[in-house]
């Protein structure tokens, strides 16, 4: 598996890495405001700049039980895709209000950004960070 095309930038180049890590996952339990736009959530923001569809696998890690996964996602070539961790369902729904980490792997390089929207106390509150490239 190719794990690095760090200098890719032009059309057709696959930017990013094939493995990423997130350590600080935690989906807030409560939400304020109309859903789904104001649902508290963790979100995976996936960017595939390459010419080939990305077959992505997400594995979730917890503090008190074995990892769960893989959750399989596809990101079409030269597209972005946002996926709410809240909405992952196969093989099982991730619990809300619980610490977790994630390893995200792909058959082609992608860029992974991680975003949390926390509306527990009000309708707006966003944290965004880049996943850790491996």
């Amino acid at each position: 598996m190719n794990n690095s095309t760090g200098n890719a930038a032009g059309p057709g180049h696959a930017a990013g890495r094939t493995a990423w890590a997130i350590a600080g996952g935690h989906i807030p339990l409560r939400s304020t405001g109309r859903e789904p736009e104001h649902t508290s959530r963790d979100e995976l923001c996936l960017l595939n700049t390459g010419a080939e569809d990305a077959e992505v696998e997400v594995t979730l890690f917890y503090s008190d039980r074995d990892p769960v996964g893989p959750y399989r996602l596809r990101v079409s070539a030269r597209r972005v895709r946002r996926v709410r961790v809240n909405d992952l369902i196969n093989p099982e729904a991730p619990p809300l209000d619980q610490d977790y980490g994630a390893i995200v792997t792909s058959n082609v390089p992608i860029v992974l950004q991680f975003e949390r929207k926390d509306t527990s106390g009000s309708e707006n509150g966003i944290l965004t960070t880049l996943g850790l490239p491996l």
């Binding site: 789904p36 709410r84 809240n86 909405d87 196969n90 093989p91 729904a93 209000d97």
Partner: protein, 399 residues
């Protein structure tokens, strides 16, 4: 040593003493006679899609896989052997220019299981799959062949349409089918509040309509199926995500590789919206931490089968799902009182926590069914502990 049996979701596991595969009707009769003489219990399994212990037995588990094929066709009436899977049956019906009027959300079941548990699809004017049964041939609890039709024995037919395998083991089904037909299936996305605001029109205007509510986003997926070219106009409050046209057996069910457990109740159709509103509120308030699976809402036309969930009333059904790998019982037990409070009857093949005491008042023809059952199986050859609880009450209770 017999292999352990597991149902589709994995929530039911047991090891029968014997796993029998009779090759013909005579062998099946002998098996039932011997079981009766030895005081043993016989249950038949199909695809194992039910998640209640209908087929569980420590004695004799029977597979009817050898009973395949068409016996005869008389116009739209097809007599088939009882061991087909539903998907296989749909293909066979199509080869004879025929189809079931409706199908469920999946076609993973055995034909016998779908009929025996009152499997349904959705559609305001469409009845349960069992309604196609207009006769058959079965081996009763004494090992005798009983052959009947709707004309010769309407009471037995209405009992046999949804019988949970308690009257006997079918070897043939006589099914009144409909000419094969195609449908245009569309899947739409919208907000649940828009869906509920237009619910009556959605139910009235489409041949088949149901919706899934996603508890972690408040979004809804609407599914409409109509004869190609006869679709109502677009839904301005929703966007069409997917569309497909094909034979009914190919487009009504959809593939499902994610295993789940499920509780589903049949409600008087007028109680559906209020019940769903309460279900939605309760899940969001209490269960959203662990529950991510969608809730399914469907409608079914009333029918006459004695133990049908839609007996005597047009119905809405509400079902909750949970990943098979996660504990479901606390969730389902907490939701069941809401479903009961709105006049619900449990789906026989899905999780519920009722027994004869609670069930008897829900079915106007309950005693008629029990009388027929006792006549067909006087020694309780087909009565496992679960069915005993359902029909007679907990062990030791007086019938």
């Amino acid at each position: 040593m017999t292999d352990a049996f597991s149902n589709w979701s994995g929530s039911l596991r047991f090891t029968p003493a014997t796993h029998a595969r009779p090759a013909n009707e005579a062998q099946l009769q002998q098996l039932v006679r011997d079981a009766g003489a030895e005081g043993r219990t016989v249950r038949v399994h199909g695809a194992g899609h039910s998640s209640t212990p209908l087929v569980q037995t420590a004695d004799i588990l029977v597979s009817m896989k050898a009973f395949k094929g068409v016996v005869r066709q008389e116009g739209d009436i097809l007599t088939v052997r009882s061991g087909m899977m539903l998907k296989e049956a749909n293909q066979t019906f199509l080869e004879h220019g025929l189809a079931l009027e409706n199908l469920g959300d999946v076609d993973l079941q055995a034909l016998a299981g779908a009929i025996g548990t009152g499997t349904h699809g959705t559609g305001r004017n469409l009845r349960i799959l069992s309604n196609h049964l207009v006769g058959g041939r079965l081996v009763n609890g004494q090992g005798e062949i009983v052959e009947f039709t709707l004309e010769t024995d309407p009471e037995l037919t209405l009992a046999a349409r949804v019988a949970l395998g308690a009257l006997g083991i079918f070897t043939e089904y006589r099914l009144q089918l409909v000419p094969a037909f195609q449908l245009h299936r569309q899947e739409w996305c919208t907000h649940i509040e828009d869906c509920m605001a237009h619910l009556d029109a959605l139910i009235a205007n489409h041949r088949n309509f149901d919706f899934y509510w996603y508890p972690r986003s408040d979004e809804a997926k609407l599914r409409t199926l109509n004869p190609p070219g006869e679709e109502p106009t677009d839904l301005p409050y929703a966007w069409c995500q997917k569309a497909k046209t094909g034979w009914s057996g190919d487009v009504i069910p959809r593939g499902r590789d994610n295993k789940f457990d499920e509780i589903e109740y049949w409600l008087p159709i007028e109680n559906g919206p209020a019940c769903f509103a309460e279900v939605r509120e309760r899940i969001k308030a209490v269960h959203r931490k662990t529950v991510g699976w969608r809730v399914l809402y469907r409608t079914v036309a009333g029918d006459e089968a004695f133990l049908s969930g839609a007996h005597g009333r047009d119905s809405a059904t509400v079902s909750m799902h949970h990943n098979a790998s996660l504990p479901h019982e606390a969730f389902f037990r907490d939701m069941e009182p809401i479903l009961l409070r709105h006049g619900g009857r449990p789906h026989w093949g899905k999780k519920h926590y009722q027994n004869a005491e609670g069930l008897r008042p829900l079915y106007p023809q309950w005693e008629r069914f029990q009388r027929i059952r006792r006549a067909m199986d006087p020694n309780g050859v087909f009565l496992n502990p679960h069915l005993h609880d359902l029909f007679e009450g907990p062990a030791g209770a007086t019938p």
